[in-house]
Amino acid sequence: MREVNTNPLRTRKAEWCLTTPSFLWLAVFFVIPAVIVLAFTFHGHDASGGVGAWSMSTWRELVDPDYPAIVWNTIRISFEVTLWSIVLAIPSAYAIARMNPRWRAIVAGSIMLPFWTSFVVRVFAWKTMLHPDGWLQACYIVFLRVRGWLFDWLPGFCQQFLVWLGLASSGPVDPATSTILDSETAVVLVSVYSFLPFAIMPIYTAAEKFDFSLLEAARDLGAKNFYAFRKIFMPGIRQGIVSAVLMVFIPAIGSYVIPQMLGGTNCVLIGNKIFMRAIQNRNIPHASALATLMAVSVLIPIGLAMWWKRRQDLRGKRRLEAQTARLLMTTAEGGNAS
C-alpha cells in the first residue's frame, strides 16, 4: 500500500501528466507569441515590411509625442466602458436571477442573441443609427449642453483638472460641428453595447448561485432593500464582478474596430495606432513595441492593485487576531470573576 500511494516519483509523474497539456497550450498560444512580440521590438525594420537586424532603433523611434496621450485615452476609455458595463450588468443580472426559470432561460438566451450576427455588421448598423439626422444626435446635443452647464458650475481648478484628464473640453457646444458620429461618446456607447453580454454573463452566473434568502434575512434584521443589496448581494457576487471587469477591460484595451469605424479622428486608441503601424506603415517592430508598451501600462496598475489588496488582507488578519485576543481576555476575566 505504501508503495502504491506514497511513491514520490509516481505522484510526481502523474502530476506532470495532468498539467503538461495546459502548460503546452499556454506556451504555444501565449508565452511564445508574447516572447516573439517582445523580440521584434529589438529589431529594426526594412522597407519591404520585413523584420530587420537586431537593433535598439525601434525603441529610440518610439518618441512620438502623441503616444502618451493615446495610451492614457485608451486606459481611460476602457475604464469608462468597464464601469458602465458593470453598473448596467449588476442590476440586469440580479433581475434575471430573480425571474422564474422559464423567463430566465429566455432572457439569458436573448442576451447572447447579438452574437449570431457579425460584430462588424453590428458596429456598422450603429453607424447608421448615429447619423447626424438621427434621434441619437439630438440626444447627444442635449447631453453636451447639460454637461457644459454642469461644467460651468464647477470651480476653476476642477474644470482644469477635468480638461487635463480628457473628461471635458472647455469650448462651448456648437450643434453644427458636434456630431455624435466620430466622437468619443459614440465609441464608449457602442463599446458598452458590445461588451455588456460579457459583463452580464459572469455576474449572472454568480447571482444565480446566490442564496436570495440572505436578502430576506438582512431585511428581517432591519436593513433597507438597497442596504441589503449593497452589503449582502454585492459581496456575494464579488467573484462574478471581478471576472466581468477582466472580461470587459482587457478586450476594451485592445479594441480597434469600434474606434476605427465610429471614433473618426477624435478618438484614436492604441489599437488603431498598432493597426496603422503594422498594416499601413508595414513596421512590425514598431507595432510590437506599442503593444508591449500598452501591456506594461496595464500590468503595472494591476500589479499595484494586487499588492495593495494583499497588504489590506494582511492588515485585516492582524486586526482580527488582535480582536480575538481581546475577546478571549475579557471572557477569561469574566470566567475568573465568577
Binding site: D211, S213, L214, E216, A217, A218, R219, D220, L221, G222, A223, K224, Y227, I232, P235, G236, R238, L320, E321, Q323, T324, L327, L328, T330, T331, G334
Partner: protein, 368 residues
C-alpha cells in the same frame, strides 16, 4: 395587555386557488414560548412570514404590542427570524453577522462590542468569533443564527423549524439550549415545527394547525390529554380510535357501539346524548394487556376484551403490542416492570385480555 402581545385577527392568505392560512385568530402572550405545530404544508411558515413582513395577508390584521403591523415592511418591525437554513451571511465573520442589526441601528461601537461579546459568551462561541459561517458545524451555525436574531432584543423571535436540519443527538441538545436561552432573555418566542416532541417539550402553549386552520390552542398537557379533534389526537402521539355511536348514557358515563365490537364504556365529559356519532381516542399507554382478566373489584367498571397478539416490538423502555379484538386493531404500550424477565412474556399469537379504564378514553369530534 400582556395576554394579547401578538394578535392574529381573522388572518387569511391565499396563493392562487390554495388557501394557505384560513381565517386564523389567536393571540400570543408576552414572554411566552409559543409553538405552531402541524404537518408539512399546513401553513405554518406562511403564518410566520406574515409576522416577519415577508407576506401580506389577503384579509385580516396582525397586531404587535397594540400596534397594527400588517403593512409594515420587515425592516420596520422589531421581529427577527431564525431561518431553517440559518441564512448566515457567508461573506461576514460570525462577529459581524451578530453585529449586523446593531450596526444598522447605529449603536455606539462600545455598546456593539459589549452586546456581541456577551451574546457570544452566552452561546459559548467566543472562540469562533472571527471564523466564517462555512467553518462552523450545523449546531454552531444554529446557535449563531439565534444569537444574531436575539442580540438587539426583538419583541418577538420567530423560529422556523430551526432544528430540522440537525441530527437527533444534536437536536435534543439544542432543545435544552433553546429552553435555557428563552429563560435567559425572556423574549416572546414563536416556534414553528412539525415535530410534536419538540413542541411538547419546549412550549408554554401550542397551536395545532391543519390545512391552514388552527385546530386547537392549548397547553401541551391539555393537547395531549384532551385533544379537541381527531386530527389533533392522531397528530400528537399515537392513539387508538374507536368510531361509533352512543347507545346509552348512565350518569357521567356512556356506552359506545362500535360496529362488530362489544359496547365500550367511556367518560362522557362533553355530555353527549344517545344517537350521537363520535370518535373515542384511547392512548396506547393507557391500554393494558394480561393473560388473566383484571381482578373483579377493578374489573367491574372497566372495558375488558379478549384479543390475540399480532405483533410485538421491543423498544427498551416500552414494548409495543398490536392486538386484534373482534376484528379491530388495537395498539398498546407496556412499560417494563421489574418482573419482566420473571413473568412469562406475552408474545406473538398469545390469547390475552386487553383492557382500559373508562376514564382513559377521550371523546373527540368526528372527522367528517
Amino acid at each position: 395587555m400582556a395576554d394579547e402581545f401578538l394578535v392574529f385577527d381573522h388572518v387569511t392568505k391565499r396563493f392562487g386557488a390554495l388557501t394557505a392560512v384560513d381565517d386564523v385568530s389567536f393571540s400570543v402572550k408576552k414572554g411566552e414560548f409559543f409553538s405552531l405545530l402541524g404537518p408539512s404544508g399546513c401553513g405554518k411558515t406562511t403564518l410566520l412570514r406574515m409576522v416577519g413582513g415577508f407576506e401580506r395577508p389577503d384579509t385580516g390584521r396582525i397586531y404587535l404590542d397594540g400596534k397594527d403591523i400588517t403593512d409594515a415592511p420587515p425592516n420596520m418591525r422589531r421581529v427577527h427570524t431564525v431561518f431553517q437554513n440559518y441564512a448566515l451571511f457567508p461573506t461576514m465573520t460570525i462577529w459581524d453577522n451578530i453585529a449586523f442589526s446593531l450596526r444598522l441601528a447605529k449603536k455606539p461601537q462600545e455598546e456593539i462590542d459589549e452586546a456581541v461579546d456577551a451574546i457570544l459568551e452566552m452561546i459559548r462561541m467566543s472562540d469562533h468569533a472571527w471564523k466564517y459561517p462555512s467553518q462552523l458545524s450545523g449546531g454552531q451555525k444554529q446557535r449563531v443564527a439565534i444569537a444574531r436574531a436575539l442580540v438587539d432584543h426583538p419583541q418577538v423571535l420567530l423560529l422556523d423549524e430551526p432544528l430540522a436540519a440537525l441530527d437527533l443527538k444534536l437536536r435534543q441538545h439544542m432543545l435544552l439550549e433553546l429552553d435555557t436561552i428563552h429563560d435567559q432573555v425572556g423574549s416572546t418566542f414563536v416556534y414553528v415545527t412539525h415535530d410534536q416532541g419538540e413542541a411538547m417539550s419546549l412550549s408554554d402553549r401550542i397551536a395545532v394547525m391543519n390545512r391552514g386552520k388552527v385546530e386547537q390552542l392549548d397547553t401541551p398537557a391539555k393537547i395531549y390529554e384532551a385533544p379537541k379533534t381527531s386530527f389533533v389526537a392522531s397528530f400528537i402521539g399515537d392513539t387508538n380510535f374507536f368510531h361509533g355511536e352512543i347507545v346509552s348514557v348512565e350518569g357521567d358515563y356512556c356506552f359506545i357501539q362500535v360496529a362488530g365490537f362489544p359496547q365500550i364504556k367511556a367518560y362522557n365529559d362533553k355530555k353527549l346524548s344517545v344517537g350521537q356519532e363520535i370518535d373515542l381516542s384511547v392512548r396506547p399507554e393507557k391500554i393494558r394487556l394480561s393473560f388473566t382478566p383484571p381482578r373483579p373489584e377493578e374489573g367491574a367498571a372497566i372495558n375488558v376484551f379478549p384479543s390475540k397478539v399480532k405483533d410485538v416490538v421491543y423498544q427498551g423502555v416500552y414494548t409495543k403490542f398490536w392486538v386484534t379484538s373482534s376484528g379491530l386493531q388495537i395498539q398498546s404500550l407496556q412499560p417494563h416492570s421489574r418482573f419482566l424477565l420473571d413473568q412469562e412474556p406475552i408474545t406473538w399469537n398469545d390469547e390475552v385480555f386487553v383492557w382500559w379504564h373508562p376514564d382513559d378514553g377521550y371523546m373527540v369530534e368526528c372527522a367528517k
